[in-house]
Structure formats: C-alpha cells, structure tokens
C-alpha cells in the first residue's frame, strides 16, 4: 500500500518540470489533428489514415482494457465483446431505423457500459483463472448468439450503406471521431490513475483481501472499472461498424481480437496510462511489417503468439513499465 501511495505522489499531475512534457504532447496532438489536411489538399494519404484509424481503435481498446486488466489486475480475454455489442447496437439502429451511427455511438457506448456493469456484477464474484474463463465464455456465447439471430443478420451479417462522400474525404469523419474517443479514453485513464478510485483498483491488484479489510469497496470498484472499460470500446465499435460498412460476428468477436488487446496492453505496460496505446501502435506497426515482408497470414498469428509468450515471460512490465523502472522513460510518456 505504502508503495502505491508514494508513486502517486511522485507523479502528481503536471507540476514543475512538466513544461517540455506538455509541449511534446501538444505537438503530437496538433500533428494528429492536422494530418488529414494532407489528404484533403492532395489525395494519396488514405493508407496512412487507415493505419492511424487502426491505431486509434486498438489504442482505445487497450487503454480501456487496462482500466480493469491493468489497474485492478482482472484479466479479461473477451473484451472485444464490448466492441461487438457497440457495433451491433448502432448498426442495427442504422439498418432498421436509419439513424446514423455517428449520432448513436455515444448511446451505444453507454448501453455497452450498462451491459458491462451487469456482466461484472455477476462475473466479478470470481477471481483469477475462473474470471478469465468466464470472459472467454461470454465472448464465445455472444458470438454464437449473434451468429444465429436472424434480426442481426446471422453469420452473413448486416450490410450498411456507405457514407455519402467522395472517397478522398470518406475516412476523415471516422478519423476525427475515433481520435476524440481515444483522447477521452486516455484522459479517463489518466484521471482514474490519479484518483482515489484508481488507488483502490491498484490495491485490489496487489492484494484484494487486504484492500477489502482496509475499507476499499472492492466489489463496487471492480464492477465500475469493468463498466467504464466497456464505454469507449462500445463507442469505438459503433464507429468501426459504420467504417467497415458491414457487421459480421467473425469481424468483431473472434477470440484472437480479445487476445490482441491484452497483448498490446501488456507489451506497452499494463497499469500505466500511456503504455497500452504505445503497445497498440507498436503491435500494429509490427503486424503491418510482417504482412508486408512475409505476406502469409498463417505466419502472422505465429509471430503474434511468439511475441505474446516472450513478453509475458520475460518482459511482464512492458515497454513503459520497464523504462520507468530504469528511470529512462521520456517524460512526455510518463503519465503515471
């Protein structure tokens, strides 16, 4: 406990010496905000927009996963269930009621969060491996149900009409929407990390019984963290469904998406604020590199699996965690 309190004190948000840090973050933000101008003024940057969209999406998912998996230490291998639920909620509203996912995404996020709270209410009574298994069970179950349900299009899924825009600009609304969600997710993670709530979550990850004895409402904290982690993933799912223009269980709910999220968060540094997003960016870059060099998609998952094993066994603190422990972390990444 003492150790946790100390580290919170040390990384008190934005005090002295954080001028440079703020500048770097600001510069990064401006670059990301202005980047689409390149695509608007001269076509040819759609590939980069697409890759950045991917990074935003997975950064949102890994950062959200980190709220329960990193801070509280409750590993969920089925977090993409939120992704699928958000996508299907907005997608079905769009197909049957013709309301744009851009309008319904926040609502889909909130409903996903409610779903997360309900699932958490039941599943978070278990711990350790039993909890992990229950999250896999959830994603398998939802996958099968959406696969069978006629209303959601079953295995063939639901096609959604494309956004009515010139191909040159079509990616840009999605870009900004996901960028905003990612910033919100990171800010939420930051504020939770530096709050009493976050302190409680990290006490749970160290020793839940002691945390409970110390008067932390562990059950409420865990369930709340699990619910909040569904909020942004649900919203991102809604936007992603519209971006892809079709919904299919095999796009949103395969088990290896859930694993990828965990891998990214652990690779970047679970329990840190910036780590999961960094992990997402690195994994996507590595993946793209492997696809470009090897081409073969079969070897792709071999590489993912091997990296995951290696990171888990030899590098459990991840990039940000390890650098921080060695005091080598660039200050603009040190958000606690």
């Amino acid at each position: 406990m003492a150790e946790i309190t100390d580290s919170t004190k040390n990384s008190k948000p934005l005090t002295k010496g954080s001028k440079l840090k703020n500048k770097v973050i600001l510069a990064l933000m401006i670059i990301l905000i202005l980047f689409p101008i390149l695509q608007v003024t001269r076509d040819g940057y759609n590939y980069w927009l697409h890759m950045l969209l991917y990074v935003f999406l997975y950064a949102i998912m890994a950062t959200s996963w980190n709220l329960i998996g990193g801070f509280a230490g409750y590993i969920s291998l089925g977090h993409n269930v939120f992704f699928g639920i958000g996508a299907y909620l907005s997608g079905m509203v769009f197909v049957y009621l013709q309301i744009s996912p851009f309008l319904t995404a926040p609502l889909a996020g909130i409903l996903t969060m409610v779903g997360g709270l309900l699932f958490g209410l039941i599943a978070l009574r278990t711990r350790g491996s039993t909890f992990i298994i229950s999250t896999i069970a959830l994603v398998l179950l939802v996958n099968e149900l959406l696969d069978k349900w006629k209303f959601s299009g079953g295995t063939n899924g639901l096609p959604m009409s494309m956004i009515k825009m010139d191909g040159q600009f079509a990616k840009i609304p999605y870009y900004y929407y996901l960028l905003v969600i990612m910033i919100l997710a990171l800010l939420t993670s930051y504020y939770i990390r530096h709050s009493k709530f976050g302190l409680g979550l990290r006490a749970i990850s160290q020793d839940e019984d002691k945390a409970e004895v110390a008067g932390i409402p562990t059950r409420q904290y865990k369930i709340l963290a699990f619910g909040i982690s569904g909020l942004f993933i649900g919203m991102a799912g809604a936007i992603w469904g519209s971006y892809l223009t079709y919904l299919r269980p095999s796009i949103f709910l395969p088990v290896n998406i859930g694993t990828t999220i965990v891998l990214m968060a652990i690779l970047g540094g679970k329990g840190t604020v910036s780590g999961p997003a960094i992990g997402a960016a690195i994994m996507i870059a590595v993946n793209e590199f492997v696809v470009a060099k090897l081409g073969a998609t079969e070897l792709n998952i071999v590489v993912t699996g091997l990296i995951l094993i290696f990171v888990l066994l030899y590098f459990p603190d991840g990039i940000v965690g390890t650098l921080k422990a060695k005091d080598r972390l660039p200050s603009f990444l040190d958000w606690g």
Binding site: A123, S129, T130, L141, K148, E298
Partner: protein, 291 residues
C-alpha cells in the same frame, strides 16, 4: 420413445471421447494449477499427426495412438520445462499460464495452417462411415470404437494413478502441493511428468477425434470453449467430475442438436459454462478453487 433412446445412445457414444479430451486438461490443472488453453490446440495437433500418418503411410488412426501418445508426452515435457518449470512459485502463475498457453495455441494454429492449410480434414478408415445396427437403433462404428478406447485409456490412467508410485505422487500433489512436498514428493518432477501425461491424453484424444469429426487449424477455439465447460462443470482438477460432466453435456448437446438443429449444440456448452461460473464456480465435484 425410440427416438429419445436413439438420441441418448448417440450422446453417450460421444461422451467417452469428450471425457478423454477433458481428462488431460483437468489433470494438468489439478496438479499444477495451469489452465491449459492450448489443450484443444494440442489435441488438433495430434489429430494432424494421425492424419499425416494415415495419408502417407496408411497407419490406422486407432493404431496411431501408439505414436501420438509418446510424441505428445515428449512435447508436453519439453513445453513444460521450457516455459513453466522455473515459474511455478510465481504468485501470478495461474494468470500467466492462461495467457501463455493461449498464445501457444495461436502459434500451433498458425503452424498447422502453414503446413496443412485451412482445409477441413479427417481420416477415413473403413469404420468411419459404417453404423452398428442394434434392433431399431443405430450407432456409428467410429463413435463406438472411439468411446470404447477412450474409456479404456481412462481406466488405464486411473489404475496408473491408483497403483503406481508416480501415480500416488501425482494424486498427492493434486490434493495438496505443499504437503506433498513436505512428505518427500519431488513436486517439480511430478509436475513435469503430469504435464506430459496430460498431453499424452490429448494425443490419444486427437487420434480418435481424427475419424469422428472434421478438423481444421482454427477449430481449437471452438473446442477450447467446450473443454472449459466440461472441466469447469466437473470441478477444475476433478477427474471424476470431468467424466461425469462429459457424459452429461454430451447427452444434453445431443438432444439440443436434435430438437433445435446441430448448430445450436455449441451454445449448450457455452451457456452451461456461463451458468456454472455464475452459480457454482467450483463445479459439480470440485473443491473451491480460488481463495
């Protein structure tokens, strides 16, 4: 009525294979508290070995058990030594193993797709397509053979655990790891051997599975959901529990797939897994796992 009994027979004829598939996973959890999410992938790996042997040197899949079991035993021992042996004392050992084994499953899946492609495979010996007819009922010969051999293997496992020195050590470690260590059981060695045995059971299951189901590299995701529900329903680490839940769920799934259609059978397992975790996380015959 005849129909009800016919469905029951078909369910029971699969139960033995499910029991064999889940026995290795529950044994490994019982001894080492490793939730081996790669168990299904190892089963499919063994199925591919049998497939290769059948196609290339026409070894009968049932006979190929004598090859897959020792091969998988060796793989198991090496895999355990390489990844887990030095980490058994880590307080987060179980959590780590869940992720590491799942990652291993992805590696196996990727390698199998690379070497065998994603095409649906199965071995087709003569008995694969013929049924036994008993009065008004029928049972596929393949399922009868597979379940009979599964039960035979399980009985041999039981005799081994009950009547050999190594077996006794394994059972002692399953009951209480620390106490076993105190009375002089070499827990590290027992763990390694148990992991090997767990995978040898996966090997036998894979050979049998190769002629009763079609399989492809990514099939393990579906199987692992099913295996988890069998193992969790039985009580993680309880061999008897796994037997019981295998026959129980096999029969239930058999009725579900008759009345609602075969594509609903997987939902039976996932829903069962979900409900057990919610209402009785320790399973039918398990002790409470988490402290």
């Amino acid at each position: 009525m005849t129909q009800m009994i016919q469905i029951l027979i078909l369910g029971l004829a699969l139960g033995g294979v499910y029991a064999l598939m889940s026995s290795g996973m529950t044994l490994v959890f019982g001894v080492m508290k490793i939730v081996n999410l790669a168990h299904a992938a190892f089963i499919i790996l063994a199925a591919y070995i049998s497939f290769w042997l059948f196609k290339n040197i026409s070894i009968d899949p049932i006979l190929s058990i004598f090859i897959t079991m020792p091969v998988m035993f060796l793989i198991g021992v090496l895999y355990y030594r390489l990844l887990f042996a030095s980490r058994a004392d880590n307080p987060h050992f179980t959590d780590i193993t869940v992720l590491v084994t799942f990652a291993s499953a992805l590696v196996i899946e990727g390698l199998l797709s690379y070497f065998f492609t994603g095409i649906y495979r199965s071995t087709n010996p003569d008995y694969a397509t013929k049924p036994f007819l008993i009065g008004p009922f029928f049972v596929p010969q393949s399922q009868v053979f597979a379940t009979a051999i599964s039960i035979l293997v399980i009985i041999m496992l039981w005799l081994f655990l009950k009547h050999t020195r190594v077996g006794n050590s394994i059972r002692a470690t399953m009951q209480n790891r620390n106490a076993a260590q105190v009375v002089g059981v070499n827990v590290a060695w027992v763990s390694m051997v148990s992991f090997g045995i767990g995978l040898a059971l996966a090997g036998a299951a894979g050979s049998l599975l190769s002629f009763i189901f079609t399989f492809f590299p990514s099939k393990h995701v579906a199987w692992i959901g099913m295996l988890m529900s069998l193992v969790v329903l039985g009580g993680m680490g309880s061999l008897m529990g796994a037997m019981l839940s295998s026959f129980l769920l096999a029969v239930i799934a058999s009725y579900v797939s008759f009345y609602l259609g075969p594509s609903w059978a997987p939902i039976t397992f996932y829903l069962a897994l979900f409900l057990i975790l919610l209402f009785r996380p320790q399973g039918l015959l398990g002790k409470k796992v988490e402290s």
